[in-house]
Amino acid sequence: MKTAFSALSRFVDRRQAFVYPAPAVIALFLIVIIPIGYNLYLSSAKWTIGLGQPRFIGIGNFIDLLSDERVLNGVKVMVYFSGLSLSLEVALGLLIALYLNREFKGSEIVQAIYIFPFAATPVAVALIWRVMLNPEIGVMNYLLKSVGLPGSLWVSSPQTVIPALVLVDVWKWTPMITLIVLAGLKSLPHEPYEAAQIDGANALQIFWYITLPLIRPVLIAALMLRSLDNLKEFDMIYTITQGGPGIASETLYLYSYTVGFSFFKAGYGSALMVVVFLMVLVFNVVMNRMRLSAKNT
C-alpha cells in the first residue's frame, strides 16, 4: 500500500505538467467539446426529436434561416438589446465609479450593497421586476406618476419592451461593472495626475487625457466579460416576456431555444445556435483587438 502510494506520488511528481491538468481537460472535453461537436453535426441535419433519424442536408439549414423572418427579427432584437444594455452599463459603471473614487466614510457599505444585484438569482429578481413593471398596479408607474410623469406600458408594449428589459439588465449588472472599474481606478499610477496638476489641467482635461486612456483596457475587459453573458441573455427575458409581446423581445438566442425545445427541430435549432456562437465570437475577437491596441498605445 505504502509503496503503491509512493510510486504514484513519484509519477505525479515527474509528470506534474501532465497529470495536474489531465482530469480537468478530459472532463472539459467530455462535457464541452463533444456536445459542441454534436451540435455542429446536428446543424447539418434535418431532424425532429422523436421522429425518425437525423438526415444529412449539408448547409440546408443555414440556407433556410436566411429566409426566416424570425431570424432577422432575432438578430435585430439582439443587437438592440445588447447594444443598448452593454453601452449603458459601461458608461454608467464608469461614471458611478468616478464619482465614488475617493476616500469617504461608508464606501465599504456602498461596495457591499453593489455586490447584491450581481449575486441575486436572475429568475427571482426578474419575477420581482415583472411585478414592479405591471402597467396597472406596478410600483414603477406609481412612482413615475407621483412625480408627475406619465406611466409606461413597459414590457406590455412592443415599443417599450426592449428598453424596459434593458432597464432590468442595467439594474443587475451596472453595479458589478462599477466595482471592477473602481478597482481599476484605485490601481492607476499617481505620477501623471501630479504632472497634470502642475501643468494646470482642469478636471475635464485630466479625465479625457489621463484617466480615460489609462482605464480603457479595464473598460474593454469589463465589457468583454459582461458581453459573454449579455449576448446569451436568457433567464431574465424568458422569465419576464418569453420573447413577447408577439416576438418583440425574442432574441436570436431565445428563438433557437424555442425551435429546439418547443418545436423539437434539433437540426434547424442547432444551426441557429451556431450562428449565435459566431456572433459572440466575432464580437469578442473585435473587442480583444481593441483592448490590445488600447494597451499598447
Binding site: 495536474y20 429568475v123 445556435m273 456562437f277 469578442n284
Partner: protein, 276 residues
C-alpha cells in the same frame, strides 16, 4: 474667510453623500420590494396605489413550504450546487495551478470556448444523450451540465490567484524534503485560500442560480429553486405573494455568501478580465 471655506467644504461633502445614497437606492429598492411582496397578503399585493405601510404576514412563507413543497427544491439546489462546486474544485485547482506554472495557454482556449458557447448549444446534445440514458430528472444530469459553467469558472479565476505565488516558496519546501504533490497541498493551496473561497462561492452562486439547464433536465424529483419559483407563474393564476416569499428565500443564501467574499470576487473578476 476660513469659516466660509469650511462651510463650502461641508456643504460639498453633504452633497456628495446625498449622491452616494441616491446611487444605492436602485439596488436596495428592488430587494426591499421583493421582501415586502413576500410579507403582503395576496389582496395587498394587487392594491393600487401600492401599499408601503401594512401589517406584515409570514403566511406566504408558510404556504411556500407547505403548499409548494419548497424545502425539497431548496435541498435539490443545495445538493447540485455542492456537487458541482466540489467537483469543479477537485478538478480545477490542480489544472489552474499547472496552467499558471507551466504557462499552458492552450488549455485556456478550451475554457474560453466553453464560456463563449451559448448554453443552448450544450443543452440540446445533452438532452438527447440523457434521454437515451434515461438520466433526465437525476442529480447526475444536473451536476454534469452545471459543471459546464462552474469548472471553467473555477479554473479561470484560480489561474490568476496561482500566478501571484512566487516559485521560490515551493522550491524551499522541496529542499525540505516535500514531494511536489505535498508542497502543492501543504504550501501552495493554503496560500491561495482566498482564491479558493472566492471560486467556491462563485461556483456555488452560479450553480444555484442556473435556470436553463434545470428547466429542461430536471423533473418532479430534482426540480431546483429557480425552476420552482418560475413555475409559480405557470399555474394559471399568478401568486405574487408566493413569488415574493420564494424569491426572498432563494436570493438570501447567495447574497450572504457573496457579501462575505465581495472584495475577492471583484479582485478575481478584474484580474481574470484583464488577462485574457
Amino acid at each position: 474667510m476660513k469659516t466660509g471655506t469650511r462651510i463650502t467644504k461641508s456643504f460639498k461633502s453633504i452633497l456628495f453623500y446625498a449622491g452616494a445614497i441616491a446611487l444605492c437606492v436602485p439596488p436596495v429598492f428592488v430587494f426591499v420590494w421583493m421582501i415586502l411582496t413576500g410579507l403582503k397578503t395576496g389582496v395587498q399585493n394587487i392594491a393600487y396605489p401600492p401599499e408601503f405601510i401594512f401589517m406584515p404576514t409570514l403566511e406566504n412563507f408558510r404556504a411556500v413550504f407547505q403548499q409548494y413543497n419548497f424545502f425539497r427544491y431548496l435541498i435539490n439546489s443545495l445538493i447540485v450546487a455542492c456537487l458541482a462546486t466540489g467537483i469543479s474544485l477537485a478538478l480545477g485547482l490542480p489544472a489552474a495551478y499547472s496552467i499558471a506554472k507551466y504557462r499552458q495557454g492552450k488549455i485556456g482556449i478550451i475554457i474560453l470556448v466553453a464560456r463563449m458557447t451559448p448554453f443552448v448549444s450544450y443543452l440540446l446534445p445533452w438532452y438527447i444523450i440523457f434521454r437515451h440514458l434515461k438520466l433526465i430528472d437525476t442529480y447526475t444530469a444536473l451536476t454534469i451540465t452545471h459543471l459546464i459553467i462552474t469548472l471553467p469558472m473555477v479554473i479561470w479565476l484560480m489561474v490568476s490567484f496561482f500566478e501571484g505565488i512566487p516559485a521560490e516558496l515551493e522550491d524551499a519546501a522541496m529542499i525540505d524534503g516535500c514531494s511536489r504533490l505535498q508542497s502543492f497541498i501543504i504550501i501552495v493551496l493554503p496560500l491561495v485560500r482566498n482564491g479558493i473561497a472566492t471560486s467556491a462561492i462563485m461556483s456555488f452562486i452560479f450553480s444555484w442560480n442556473q435556470f436553463l439547464f434545470s428547466l429542461i433536465l430536471s423533473g418532479p424529483k430534482t426540480k431546483t429553486v429557480p425552476v420552482a419559483v418560475y413555475n409559480f407563474i405557470s399555474y394559471g393564476k399568478i401568486d405574487w405573494a408566493g413569488i415574493g416569499a420564494a424569491a426572498t428565500l432563494i436570493v438570501l443564501p447567495v447574497s450572504v455568501f457573496a457579501f462575505f467574499v465581495r472584495r475577492t470576487i471583484v479582485q478575481g473578476l478584474t484580474m481574470g478580465a484583464l488577462k485574457k
